[in-house]
Symmetry: C2
Subunit: 657 residues, 2 copies
């Protein structure tokens, strides 16, 4: 069951990786397609190395922190934060790229949807956000189906295509007949182009890291299951990637970066079908039922890959929040126990990226995989440190201890890990350099700008929390026993909420209780004083003149003057506050009380007591509401039937002073 959940991200990459690889080579002309088997082979080798490396990482760090934890533990704070920033950027791009590619495949099947490409993409992101906010775990069983259908249908397509080829009746893609306009290239440009094709093909590797971040979700034995899933996923990904590239070459797919460079293709009025769609059409026939199955499964798997990011991003966000590198709100579980704030942020940023890039897959791919390879590289380097440290410990053992069987086996395991991760680190750093060189000017500079900015912000957030923590840390110098407290009840007009506030203030038995009225209009003040006497209010009413219509300031001065004279140290200001039932009612009530409260709270020794007054409408609404809206905090469910036992564990301590 773990395969479909974690593999959709990695497997879905094969829906666009071969296309982007061949597309870049085609910039040099059809002759360049001869390079493609070699480039594809290099991608496959890299994929094997990365999968093996991650098998080691999963074993060493089964807690699910992934590359972030590895880098932070072994390399220090800054590399850890850089990995986290890179991963956050890449989660956003996973959503954008997957959704853009999914929409691409939908449009390849139904070309009339082309004018609403961006709207479709945004709509899918919104859909995924809503599904995730409502808690997606229950539905994960249903998620398995598209993944298996995708593997199966694409597998069948590859086999059918290869068999037809072997039988001398190879499938022919619709674009096979088109020539390609290409410029003459210098030798350097040729090398750069091949490297660029490799970089684009490397997008097949994205998603491999997902398993290392989600080990906790596996069944026991977690490490073994995670490793098995990794191997299985890697094998399937390699088979699909190799098969799809072969079939595309056999059937002569010509997929151009700019469709108008295809000689013979009506680029003005037609949409260039995706490589997947061209292969499926060539193998099964355009418009056939298998064609639509392949396209639908591809689109579904790509949307599931976007969904994976909606698991990973909020989880990483909560880990960062827990470690003090991100706002604490990211560690707040919302309704249905999901980290709703992280999901909403990811959704908004992904939509912004999709709109800015007009859901153009080729442009988005340029930004992609840099974050992944930054994270890969630092993770692998961290793993080298990890193994070296282990070996260093063993080296400290006595000779006799080192000769023991268990220790020798351990040494062997450490050395094996070191070798594998060293190869992994070398290759991923090399690829990171290649990717950087070939993509930087094509838009990737934006990612190189974003990662350090985000990392710096994270460190800033961490320092802020540290400072606040230090400031509010408990010490034993705090003395209790403030005396001489004064209660002030703010009165505008004599109405029931004021009476309630007075009642509560009297119940608290403050040393002195006083109603105060800020007089702005003479006639209102006179009316208040008259009513105050008529109703025989049990506390005296002080009038403060405020000819300039200030409210908070005269009260502040009143408090100061009172203190000078009577020496009260604690002042409690009672403010009646309306509780309303509809959101629009808040528009109709003055926020004056709240503004006054905010100002008075700045004065030393003042506390604000909000005395709620539930308007009729609020009782109606809150009494009825059964459950909160999606994304609303769980804590926002006032009258939900109790779901868990509430026990008071220290009953004896209830007998207070």
């Amino acid at each position: 069951m773990a395969l479909p959940i974690f593999a959709s991200d990695a497997l879905s990459s094969v829906a666009y990786a071969p296309q982007e690889l061949l597309m870049i080579l085609l910039v040099g002309g059809t002759a360049f397609l001869a390079f493609s088997p070699w480039v594809a082979a290099a991608v496959i080798v890299l994929l094997v190395v990365v999968v093996l490396s991650y098998r080691q990482l999963v074993k060493a760090y089964p807690s699910g922190g992934g590359d972030y934890e590895v880098a932070r533990t072994n390399l220090g704070e800054v590399p850890g934060v850089v990995v986290a920033a890179a991963l956050l950027v890449d989660y956003v791009l996973t959503v954008a790229v997957s959704v853009a590619s999914g929409v691409d495949n939908i449009i390849s099947a139904i070309p009339s949807l082309d004018p609403v490409r961006v709207e479709l993409a945004v709509g899918f992101v919104v859909l995924v956000v809503i599904v995730n906010l409502r808690g997606v775990r229950e539905a994960s069983r249903a998620f398995a189906i598209p993944t298996y259908v995708f593997i199966g249908s694409v597998g069948v397509m590859i086999v059918v295509g290869l068999v037809r080829w072997a039988l001398g009746d190879p499938p022919v893609a619709s674009s096979a007949g088109f020539a390609v306009q290409a410029d003459d290239l210098t030798q350097v440009a040729v090398i750069l182009l091949v490297l660029r094709a490799f970089s684009s093909g490397c997008s097949a590797l994205t998603g491999v890291e997902a398993v290392s971040n989600g080990i906790q979700a596996f069944r026991r034995p977690k490490i073994r299951n995670a490793q098995t899933t990794l191997t299985l996923m890697g094998t399937i990904a390699i088979l699909l990637f190799a098969g799809l590239t072969t079939i595309a070459l056999v059937s002569g797919v010509h997929y151009a970066e700019n469709p108008c460079h295809l000689v013979g293709f009506d680029c003005e009025s037609l949409v260039q079908p995706s490589l997947m769609a061209q292969v499926a059409a060539a193998t099964f026939g355009a418009g056939s039922i298998p064609f639509f199955i392949v396209q639908a499964a591809t689109a579904c798997v790509l949307l599931l890959a976007a969904n994976t990011a909606f698991n990973g991003f909020p989880l990483l966000g909560s880990v960062l929040a827990r470690d003090g590198y991100a706002p604490k709100a990211l560690n707040t579980r919302g309704d249905r126990l999901v980290y709703s704030n992280g999901m909403i942020i990811l959704g908004i940023v992904a939509i912004a990226v999709l709109v800015v890039y007009q859901a153009n897959l080729t442009n988005l791919i340029q930004l992609y995989i840099i974050g992944v390879f930054v994270s890969f590289s630092l993770g692998q380097i961290g793993m080298i440190r990890h193994w070296l440290r282990g070996l260093g410990q063993i080296r400290g053992f006595s000779k006799a201890a080192r000769a023991e069987e268990a220790v020798r086996a351990e040494t062997f395991a450490l050395r094996k890990g070191l070798v594998i991760n060293s190869i992994g680190a070398t290759l991923t750093v090399l690829v990171l350099v290649i990717v950087t060189i070939t993509k930087f000017t094509h838009g990737a500079w934006l990612v190189f700008l974003a990662i350090p900015i985000i990392a710096t912000l994270m460190i800033g957030v961490n320092r802020y929390y540290r400072d606040v923590e230090h400031e509010i840390a408990m010490d034993d110098r705090t003395r209790f026993g403030s005396t001489g407290d004064l209660a002030l009840i703010l009165v505008n007009r004599l109405q029931k909420p004021v009476a309630k506030a007075i009642d509560y203030a009297l119940a608290a038995k403050h040393d002195k209780t006083l109603a105060i009225h800020v007089s702005v209009t003479k006639s209102d003040t006179d009316a208040l004083q008259r009513e105050w006497k008529e109703h025989g209010m049990p506390v005296p009413l002080a009038i403060i003149d405020s000819p300039y219509r200030y409210y908070a300031q005269p009260i502040a001065e009143f408090i100061t003057q009172y203190r000078e004279k009577h020496g009260a140290s604690v002042v409690t200001v009672y403010l009646p506050q309306y509780i309303v039932g509809h959101w629009w009612e808040t528009l109709l009530h003055n926020r004056r009380a709240r503004r006054i409260a905010q100002q008075l709270m700045l004065i030393h020794g003042v506390t604000i007591t909000l005395v709620p007054w539930l308007l009729d409408s609020s009782e109606l609404i809150y009494g009825r509401r059964s459950r909160p809206l999606p994304g609303q905090e769980r804590a926002g469910q006032p009258f939900e039937p109790a779901t868990g036992p509430v026990s008071i564990t220290e009953r004896s301590s209830l007998e207070g002073p």
Copy 2:
């Protein structure tokens, strides 16, 4: 001095009224321009009648409520609210039309600005909003200059043009040579076209009502000064309107609704200059200094007209809020004593209208003046009622009393008013019908949709306030003397803010004081209990288990259980609250405490006491800040040096119970 402030709205109308009048006629072809003197004459007659009618209204209702007050007093609530809604809609359109026309005249002088038309328009609205939020009254002297320059320069232009015409050397407009494509029209269509031209020309009348809404701003004798201003303004408006229309006809301006209908005009690459620009260029020469003076003065006066709406809208909003027909926030004076909320709303809505209509003057004019004529008509009808009531009172007098000189003079005045306003009512209702017929399908249906919706909302708001008022009205059944109060201090971790809350709770001497901790993570709870003992906290700590990570609900159940056992009637929950200095700090602090407060306030008998904890940054910021940002409430100035004396008028009452 009153003239420039109130007249800019009315006078600026002549910048677009002749253009729109001639433009509509030109739809029928150049031959139709022969109708223009008659149509213009009809507009002038109407303008005279309306000015005379408003002289009567100003005399009868000098309080400044304008048509809204007249309709509400004489016709009842619904007509009053309809007038208010119509005026609010028209204030928005005044801003949109004036700014669009102003931008049009700027672009006529500097055609290269055409691509940023909408941005310019939005920018001007933002500018006017900011200027008004900062308090515009001091600058009103500066406002006089553009108005006088406008009157002067346009006056000179008309005189020069007429003199040149008389000398046989009439100015020739740049568009005089262009023929116009026109369809053959049926007789009905001809009549409709002429009526449409009249409707568009009636936009010259807008702004006349401004004086009646601003009488309070006049110097004494207010009524006489207001009447004089009205007459003067009307005379100037008529002269400018008539003069400009004449010169436009003499110089042969052909201004087309669709510039591509002008045969010989390169509508693809050139911008059609406004009528004002064409006349100025023909009279003084394109690019001459007087040409730029006329254009600059026109643009300035149009922006001042927009500014007038920023005086009128918030004022009407505050009157409506005072009467309970609009949210009370509209009656809150912001910084510098202006009604900032109303200004911000007007700005946002006007920008939305400008963006939706792409700052297209011709389309905006279609929506305009309907609101004005609804308001004119209901105001005039209200005035008829007013005079009739006065005459009815006199009819009730004895015969002897009626014969008295004063009463006879009074009767004469009443009859005079009745006659003038009857003519006014008849004509304005007639024009309202014409305007409705000719503009409804051209976009004005939107206004007919908006006015009743706004009016209904206003009545709804009024009913809501009435219900709330009834609900919270003081009665003598309120009994004081709740007893058995309990203080709960919410503790998450033991930090200084918690210690402060405990200190304050103890100072208030509640019957029972108790710290409570909602236990979500066992280890955190254990640590808290350990620290609690170590620091020797003076109140007992109760632990509430919450295995499902709820916060508010377990506390609510705790309160319920406690009450059942101990019978506390008032529960005060102490919540430490951070006060931060930078807006971004709020993003970094959990809002859990606030959410819990909101939930607990729904429980009967619970009050929330916020114990502020000023973080270092807040002292830094609030200590330094000298004055609030524009638009911020005046009450939001905590440490501004005192500007007025604060006196405690009932010192004797300070000796509380």
